[in-house]
Amino acid sequence: MTHFNPGRIPALMAVVALSAGLAGQAAAQQTLRIGALATLEGPFAVPGQDGMRGVELAVKERGGEIAGRKIEIIKASSNGNPDTAVAAARKLVEQDKVELLIGPLSGSEGIAVKNYAKSQPHVTFVNGSSAAQETTMVDPAPNFFRFSTDGAQWQYGLGDYAYNVKGYKRVVSVAEDYSFPYSLLQGFMVEFCRAGGKVVDKHWVPLGTKDYSSVIARLPDDIDAIYVALGGSDAVNFFSQYEQAGGDKPLIAGSITIDQSVLGYKGKRRDALLGTPSAGPIADNYDDPAWKAFVQAYRDTFKDGLPSPSLFAHAYYVNTKALLDGLDAAGGDLSDNHAKLRQQLSTMTVKTPTGDVRLDENRNAIANIFLTEVARNDDGSFYNKFVKVVPNVNQYLGMTRDEFMKMGVGTRTNPECK
C-alpha cells in the first residue's frame, strides 16, 4: 500500500471548484442574466454560431439593456445530444443563475429542455430554433415559449404550391429516419394530399447514412418530383450522388435541405438545384423593409457571418426579440415567478422581420411561412428566392385542434396518401 492517498485529490479539487462557484455567485444583481444555449460544438457548430448571432443582434438592437437593467448573455453549448443540452441548461440555471434562458437549437434537445423547464418554474424558457412538434403539442411546459414555428408549420403551403403551381402529382420522399423529418413531411403532405397529390413511397434513411446510392436506385421513374428532407452534409451528398447516378427529376426541398448553412457548401454549384421549391420560416430576398433591415444589420454586425442570415439566426433573433419586448411591456417585473412577463408573452403580438407573430394556447408561434425557390446570385452563390407568403400558419396546419389531434403528429407512416 502506498503512503500517499490518492483520494485526497478529489477533495482538494472540490474545494477549488467550490470556491470558484461561490465567487461567481457574488455577481451584481442589477444586470439581467440571460442564458443562450446553442450547439457550438461539433458538426452543428455552424447553425449554432448563427443562432448566437441572432441573439446578439436582438440584444444589440436594444442597446444592451432592457427596462433599465443591463443585459448579460451567458453562452452555453451543447452538441445535439439531449443529455448535454439539459446539462448545459442546468449549468446556466443553477450555477450561472440566469433568470431567462433562450434555446436550444435542435428538436430532440428542445423536448429535453422543455422537460427540464418544468422542474424550474422560477425561470422563463424561450425557444432557440428547435422545431419538434411535440415540444409544445404534447405535454407543454407553462414556462416554455416558442415564438418560432415547428417543422410541420415550415412546410405548410408547399404542398399546395407543388401540386397546383408546379404541377407535381406523384411524388416520393427521401428523408432521414427520425421525428423532425416526419413532421416536415407531414406539413408538406397535409395540403398536397388534400389537393389530390400522391406520395407513392417514403424512403426513410437512417441518420448518418452518407451513401444514398441504394435509395436512389429504388426511386421509380413514374414520378414527377422527389421530396428531400435531409440536413447539412447529407443533403450535399444526396445532390451529388443523385446527379452522378444520372437522376433528372426535379426536387422539392424540406427547409433544412436548402437552408443557407447547406447552400453555402464548398464545392461546385449544381445547376440541377436551381428552381427547387421549398418553404420555411424565411426567404433570403424577401422584399420587405423590415426583413431587409434585418439582413443589413446582420451583415453589418457580423463580418464573418454567412452571406445571409440562416433560419437559425432568424429563429433565435425572433425568440430573443420577443422575450425582450415582453420584458419591456412588463416593465421588467420578474416577481411572482415572472407572472407579468409570461402574461405578456402569451398575449402580445411581436413585430419580427418576417411579419407579426402571436402564440397559440400551447405557447407555440402562429407566424408567416414563406414559399421559396432556389436561385443564383450574381456572384454565383445560391440563395432562396421569395415566391409567396403563407400568412398566419398555426400548429394545427389549417385544421381544427380536434382534427389535427385525430391525425396525430408526424410518424413514419402518418400521414399517408398513396
Binding site: A45, D177, K210, S213, A217, G232
Partner: protein, 335 residues
C-alpha cells in the same frame, strides 16, 4: 532459426488440421445454410426487380472499393506493425481537406489527389517516428494515444475548416454518367473508384510479395531482431510502411470526398467501417481486407436497398457472426 522456430507450431497445426470434429462439421453446415439462404434471397430479389438488383450489386461493389481503399492502409499498418492506429480516420480527413485546399487553389483534381496522399503520408511519418516508435510493444498505450490524437485532430480540423461539407470538382470525363447494360445509367466516378481500388489492391499485393522492400517488411514483422541483424534499418522500414498506410488513407479521403463528401464526422464513420472490414477480413491481410470490404459493402447497400430500417445493423451482425466462429477474421492468421 526459422526452421527450428517453425517446426513446433507447424506440427501443432498439422495435428489440428487432422481432427475434423463435430464442431467443425457444425460450423460448416451452418455456413452452408447461411449461404443457401443468401442465395435464395438474392434470386428472389433478382427475379423481382433485375434493375434494382443490378444497381445494388454495383453500388455494393463501389462502396466496397471505397472501404477497401480506406481499410487497406489500416490493415497494412496493423498487420505489419501491430499498431492499431485509431487516428486512421483523421488521416482520411486530413487528406481530404488538404486535397480540397490544393485542388481549389490549383484547379487540378489530380494534384489534389497527389497532395492528399502526400499530406497524410507525411503525417503518418511524423506519427510513427515521433510518437509510436517510443511505445513499441505497448499495444494498449499506442491505441489510447491514437484515440486521443483522433479527438484532438478532429477538433483542429473543425477549427480550421469549419462544419460545412466539402465536395471536389473532378474533370468531367471522370465524372459523367456511363450507360451500362441492365442498369442503364450509372455514375462514372463510382466505377473509377472501383477501378482504382482494384489497381491499388493488386499493386499492394505485388509490392508486399514481389519486391525486396515488401519482403523486408514482411520479414520485419515476423522477426524484427533477425531483420535488424541482417543489416536492415528496421525503423526506416517501419516508417516507410506507416507512411504508405497513412498515405493510402489520405488518398481515400480525396476519392471519398469526390464520391460522397468531406465533413466532420466522416473520420469516425470511415474508421468504424475500416475496423469492421478488418475484423471481418482478418487483420494484416490485404486479401482479407478486400474480402471484408466486399462483404461489408454489399451488406450495407443491400441492407439499405431492401431493409432500410435495420440494414445498418447488418454489417455489425456479420462482424459478430464472423467473430463467433473465427475470432481472427476470415483470412487472418494466428496473431
Amino acid at each position: 532459426m526459422a526452421a527450428i522456430n517453425g517446426a513446433w507450431p507447424a506440427a501443432g497445426r498439422q495435428a489440428r488440421a487432422r481432427t475434423v470434429n463435430g464442431k467443425t462439421i457444425a460450423a460448416r453446415l451452418l455456413l452452408a445454410a447461411v449461404a443457401a439462404v443468401v442465395l435464395v434471397a438474392a434470386a428472389i430479389a433478382l427475379a423481382g426487380n433485375p434493375r434494382l438488383f443490378g444497381l445494388t450489386v454495383l453500388n455494393g461493389l463501389t462502396l466496397a472499393a471505397l472501404y477497401f481503399l480506406v481499410a487497406s492502409g489500416f490493415t497494412l499498418v496493423f498487420g505489419l506493425m501491430r499498431v492499431v492506429n485509431l487516428a486512421h480516420g483523421s488521416l482520411f480527413l486530413l487528406g481530404g481537406y488538404v486535397g480540397y485546399a490544393v485542388g481549389d487553389a490549383s484547379g487540378s483534381w489530380f494534384l489534389a489527389l497527389a497532395c492528399g496522399f502526400a499530406a497524410a503520408a507525411l503525417a503518418g511519418l511524423v506519427l510513427q517516428a515521433g510518437v509510436f516508435r517510443f511505445m513499441e510493444g505497448q499495444d494498449l498505450r499506442q491505441t489510447l494515444v491514437s484515440i486521443g490524437l483522433s479527438i484532438v485532430l478532429a477538433d483542429i480540423f473543425l477549427w480550421i475548416w469549419g462544419g460545412e461539407a466539402y465536395q471536389f470538382d473532378p474533370p468531367q470525363w471522370l465524372y459523367g454518367t456511363v450507360p451500362l447494360p441492365l442498369v442503364g445509367k450509372y455514375s462514372g466516378f463510382r466505377l473509377v473508384v472501383l477501378g482504382t481500388a482494384i489497381v491499388i489492391g493488386v499493386g499492394l499485393w505485388l509490392f508486399l510479395n514481389r519486391t525486396r522492400i515488401g519482403m523486408m517488411i514482411r520479414a520485419g514483422v515476423d522477426d524484427k531482431r533477425m531483420l535488424a541483424a541482417s543489416g536492415v534499418d528496421v525503423q526506416r522500414v517501419f516508417a516507410a510502411t506507416f507512411a504508405i498506410g497513412a498515405g493510402l488513407a489520405g488518398f481515400a479521403g480525396v476519392m471519398g470526398g469526390t464520391a460522397l463528401s468531406i465533413a466532420p464526422g466522416e473520420d469516425v464513420r470511415y474508421l468504424l467501417a475500416s475496423l469492421v472490414v478488418v475484423i471481418v477480413g482478418g487483420m494484416g491481410s490485404i486479401t482479407g481486407a478486400a474480402i471484408g470490404a466486399l462483404l461489408i459493402g454489399l451488406a450495407e447497400t443491400f441492407g439499405l436497398a431492401y431493409v432500410p430500417t435495420y440494414g445498418v445493423v447488418f454489417t455489425f451482425l456479420i462482424m459478430v457472426a464472423v467473430l463467433a466462429f473465427r475470432p481472427q477474421g476470415l483470412m487472418g492468421g494466428r496473431t
